[in-house]
């Protein structure tokens, strides 16, 4: 990373300062900002295997929900009996001390990052052998099956849900909870960005792109595609698990199908955000997620009740009329900004051919 240009340096430091100052500047919107960070992380890491690798997964929600349940379970299970907690609103009988709460969420997030990564690695060989739409449908099935199964397991609350430990009452500052979750998610966002940025400059990305463009030829060139596909999916799973863990703590309540394995919302959002911004670009998912979040928050309150109709229409419109996304559209319009040189003669010849 030694050759960061002057312009980039200003951009990045500006963004980091903005990110650090945001909870103080817009202190009423801390929860929304936390959501935004999580959405960006999800879109960016979905893009790693959806946009770069060409494996469009609907099932990354599996890792997100898994991370959410794992964080909460570890946070409770480290200090109190988990079954009693979920059975009868344990948060009233058992109270986490401040130290226990933070210890719990720390270890919980660690577990929430590692276990989904391992799960992705374990099922990767079987699932990633599927191509194209079979992969999409299979992962869709996985995500929904996980939600249905989690809704039947007693120890994590089954259908009635799981209340995550409340923020320690000893911290009286009312701002503290929002700030804690915001900085946590912002930290994850920065880590995810640095990671994705690193991947964008590496050979790994070229291999992923080769897999996307023509997997058989990539294989013929001597690339062990399966290995790279699994690693690519594991990268996504790692950050999805972390994001899920943070969201579980922030929302404070886990329901199997409406919060954790929420294929109808989060699972679609991450795909949509990446497509809106432009698949296969570094900034696309970030811009897409930000736009989508503003749009959603504006829309959701004004057309209460009709939000899912609007969401569905939005999906259709984006996918049918705008499949290249914002970055793809810009690229079409201003190719020289993206470092692409157009051969005028060649272009004219192409037009004449048509």
């Amino acid at each position: 990373m030694g050759n960061i240009k002057q312009k980039d340096l200003i951009l990045y430091s500006g963004l980091i300062i903005l990110g650090l100052a945001a909870p103080y500047l817009f202190s009423a919107f801390k929860v929304q900002l936390t959501y935004l960070c999580v959405l960006i992380v999800l879109a960016m890491t979905w893009n790693l295997q959806g946009g770069e690798m060409g494996y469009n997964s609907f099932g990354n929600i599996l890792f997100y929900g898994l991370g959410m349940y794992l964080t909460a379970s570890v946070q409770v299970g480290m200090f109190f009996p988990l079954a009693e907690w979920t059975e009868s609103g344990g948060e009233k009988t058992f109270v986490h001390t401040t130290a226990q709460y933070f210890q719990g969420i720390g270890v919980g997030l660690l577990v929430a990052a590692i276990i989904p990564t391992i799960v992705a690695g374990a099922i990767g060989y079987a699932i990633l052998g599927l191509r194209g739409h079979y992969f999409a449908i299979c992962t869709l099935g996985l995500g929904i099956a996980a939600g249905e199964i989690a809704g039947g397991i007693e120890i994590i609350g089954a259908g009635q849900g799981f209340t995550t430990p409340p923020f320690p009452a000893e911290i009286v500052d009312p701002e503290a909870r929002g700030q804690f979750f915001y900085f946590l998610s912002f930290f994850v966002l920065v880590v995810a960005f640095v990671f994705v940025k690193y991947i964008y400059g590496s050979r790994f990305r070229l291999i992923l792109n080769a897999i996307r463009d023509n997997e058989d030829k990539a294989e013929a060139m001597g690339i062990q595609t399966m290995k790279y596909k699994i690693v690519g999916w594991m990268c996504s799973a790692f950050f999805c698990g972390l994001a899920g863990g943070i969201m579980g703590g922030l929302i404070g309540y886990i329901d199997s199908t409406d919060v954790a394995f929420d294929g109808r919302e989060m699972g679609v959002f991450m795909v949509l955000m990446a497509i809106l911004g432009g698949k296969g670009t570094l900034w696309g998912p970030i811009i897409g997620a930000t736009l989508f979040h503003f749009f959603k928050e504006g829309l959701w309150t004004f057309i209460l009740g009709w939000q899912y109709v609007a969401l569905g229409v939005l999906i259709v419109v984006i996918v049918v009329y705008f499949p290249e996304g914002l970055m793809g559209w810009l690229r079409e319009k201003y190719p020289e900004r993206f470092g692409e040189v157009i051969d005028e003669k060649d272009r004219k010849a192409q037009v004449e051919l048509k």
């Binding site: 079979y134 929904i144 294989e219």
Partner: protein
């Protein structure tokens, strides 16, 4: 194993009969899916929601005092036009595109349908009473609602009618020709655009029939469409495109699997089991195919 179902053989008979009758219904939906997948190369995630919409048409008739069984005639007619409209609005723009685009676009349609049905019909689980009574078999130990027998009979009737129609009629021939080679069909004067619209309409009509039958045999709820999509997808993968006997058999197999999963795992895992079966089938298929995979063509 001490599952109840293995102790009582009559429960086995009950589950098998239920499963087979249910499976015939699934096969009807799957046939529609195979039709439009084969002809237009589109995977329609909104398939299940079309089914539920058909069911609600029958339910509305039931509320209006008409016997819901007439829904098997009215629902397909309305659904045909819904299907054609849907094709004109969205589907015709995704026909030649990447399959992922069609999956995502129909996913969006599914969300819209679910929510609109939620507004119009409410979020309650409803059922249209057919009042056909039940048949008792084997000394009253197996109960079979007559509505299930009726629905299986109607499904078979419609499936046979459709097969004959596809074989004999002009439109049927045009649809089959387009499925084989859209370009050649176009050259020989088939208006493929019309054929696509008709195919999607017929698919929606089949969904309408299945939905009307579901409204009297099972229950309706705005959000239960996706399991029907997944079931039909599974049946089509196992049976292959355009192989009707195989579709019927694998539909019945799926029905049997579900009824037994219901008894063995418990009702709360029923839908979960369906989705897990989907994953297992796809993974099994992947390993089977990878044995004879050709690398570069």
């Amino acid at each position: 194993m001490d599952f109840l179902i293995f102790k009582a053989p009559m429960l086995m008979v009950q589950a098998s009969l239920d499963g087979i009758l249910l499976g015939i219904l699934f096969a009807l939906i799957a046939y529609g899916m195979a039709l439009q997948w084969g002809v237009m190369n589109i995977i329609n995630i909104a398939q299940g929601d079309l089914v539920i919409l058909g069911g609600y048409i029958a339910y509305t008739m039931y509320l209006a005092g008409i016997h819901p069984a007439w829904g098997v005639i009215v629902a397909p007619i309305i659904m045909y036009f819904v299907g054609v409209l849907l094709y004109k609005l969205v589907i015709n723009k995704v026909v030649d595109r990447d399959l992922f685009i069609s999956i995502l676009a129909t996913f969006g349609i599914a969300i819209v349908f679910q929510q609109l049905m939620n507004f119009v019909f409410g979020a309650d689980v409803v059922v249209a009473q057919s009042e056909y009574g039940t048949t008792m078999l084997f000394d009253n130990s197996v109960t079979l609602p007559n509505s299930k027998i009726f629905s299986a009979f109607i499904s078979v009737l419609y499936a046979v009618a459709l097969v004959v129609y596809m074989k004999k009629s002009r439109l049927g021939r045009a649809i089959r020709a387009t499925a084989q080679n859209a370009r050649a069909a176009k050259i020989l004067g088939v208006d493929t655009e019309k054929v696509y619209a008709a195919t999607f309409g017929i698919n929606a009509a089949l969904c309408g029939i299945a939905g009307a039958l579901i409204s009297i045999t099972l229950t309706l709820h705005p959000y239960v469409g996706l399991p029907y999509t997944v079931r039909s997808f599974m049946i089509v993968i196992v049976a292959g495109l355009g192989n009707l006997p195989a579709v019927a058999i694998s539909g019945m197999g799926l029905g049997l699997f579900e009824e037994f999963a219901d008894y063995i795992l418990g009702t709360e895992f029923r839908i979960g089991a369906v989705f897990m079966l989907l994953v297992f089938i796809l993974v099994y298929r992947r390993f089977k195919l990878s044995k004879k995979r050709e690398y570069l063509k």
